[in-house]
């Protein structure tokens, strides 16, 4: 039987950090994609910062609504952005050696429909600034997704030891 849940590729950021992690030449042979990230931003002076993912190097036609808990409050916001760009991950003033965990589920990524994204992310911190974000995203573009780029939303680097794995899921 063909493998249902398959690791396509994984990247770990090396010494000095990296501006982005990118998966290219994604085959259209799966049904859905799951992008699983463990990341820390090098943005200074903050406990957490947003990750941004973009498809096919396209920076337009993204929209999101978020549901976010901070440990003391829950908020919801809406965005039109240059990517799916509002899930928080750990940054430099958060607890050392702590990386945020985020999943992006992208169903029917190779279809000719607009692309919905369901994302869950946490930036845990042994302190007052920790966040859990649930993000409903949409890329209003009918092109099949062939590449995914992961970046810090403000242009900072992803820290060494940040990792991302792209999984393909087959429905048959």
């Amino acid at each position: 039987m063909a493998t249902t849940y398959e690791a396509i590729a994984t990247v770990t950021v090396g010494s000095g950090g990296a501006a982005n992690i990118e998966f290219t030449s994604i085959p259209a042979t799966y049904t859905d994609l799951l992008l699983r990230i463990s990341a820390r931003s090098t943005r200074s002076g903050v406990d957490a910062n947003e990750l941004k993912i973009t498809f096919n190097n396209n920076t337009s036609n993204y929209s999101e609504r978020t549901l976010r808990g901070s440990g003391s409050a829950v908020t919801s916001s809406s965005f039109t952005s240059a990517g799916i760009a509002n899930v928080l991950t750990n940054a430099t003033t958060s607890t050392a050696s702590t990386f945020g965990s985020t999943d992006y589920y992208i169903p029917n990524y190779a279809s000719a429909n607009n692309k919905s994204v369901s994302a869950d992310g946490v930036s845990e911190n042994n302190g007052t600034a920790a966040y859990a974000t649930f993000d409903a995203g949409l890329w209003s573009n009918s092109a099949a997704i062939t590449s995914v780029k992961i970046q810090d939303n403000d242009g900072n680097n992803l820290a060494q030891y940040s990792t991302a794995t792209l999984y393909g899921i087959k429905s048959s």
């Binding site: 039987m1 929209s63 549901l67 976010r68 409903a136």
Partner: protein, 168 residues
């Protein structure tokens, strides 16, 4: 090596339909994962689940929803289905939502059955919904029906895929 995560069945609607149903679900898995990318013919209606053709008032759910301006939560008890989405405003017609529904320990005959799900409603301004549901029955789940509230149809192109996960 035995397969851990296995597709059981998938349905893609070639025309509008009242529901998608998975029947004769094997009890050989540990957990189920149901992935639905829906669009409702009557925009704004909610996606819903029933198990084993039970249409009685044996379901409940609690949701947490972000609609882009406010976060809110509500619950329903003694319902005739588990409602998954929460449409504050009708979604646009060009996009399909995504519902990821986890059903743990679905095949035991001891416990009530619970679901945990995430929904992104696929609007141009989508809503983010986290949902927990319960079916007050100790029966093993052998059938799952996916449909819309208020008799809305599911639209052509809606896809539902059921996966089984084995713990060993």
């Amino acid at each position: 090596m035995p397969t851990t995560y296995e597709p059981i069945a998938t349905t893609t609607l070639g025309s509008n339909a009242a529901s998608i149903e998975f029947t004769s679900i094997s009890g050989s898995y540990t957990d189920l994962v149901l992935i639905v990318t829906p669009q409702q013919v009557t925009l704004g209606e909610d996606l819903a689940l029933q198990f084993n053709s039970d249409t009685g008032s044996n379901y409940s759910r609690t949701y947490l929803c972000g609609d882009g301006s406010t976060a809110h939560s509500n619950r329903s008890s003694n319902s005739t289905a588990i409602l998954l989405d929460h449409h504050g405003t009708p979604p646009t017609s060009g996009s399909f939502g995504v519902d990821i529904i986890n059903i743990q320990n679905y095949s035991n005959s001891t416990t009530y059955k619970t679901t945990i799900s995430r929904a992104s409603t696929g609007d141009s301004q989508p809503a983010a919904v986290a949902n927990v549901g319960m079916w007050r029955s100790t029966s093993a789940i052998t059938a799952i029906k996916i449909f819309c509230t208020n008799s809305s149809n599911l639209k052509t192109g809606t896809i539902a895929t059921l996966y089984g996960i084995k713990a060993a």
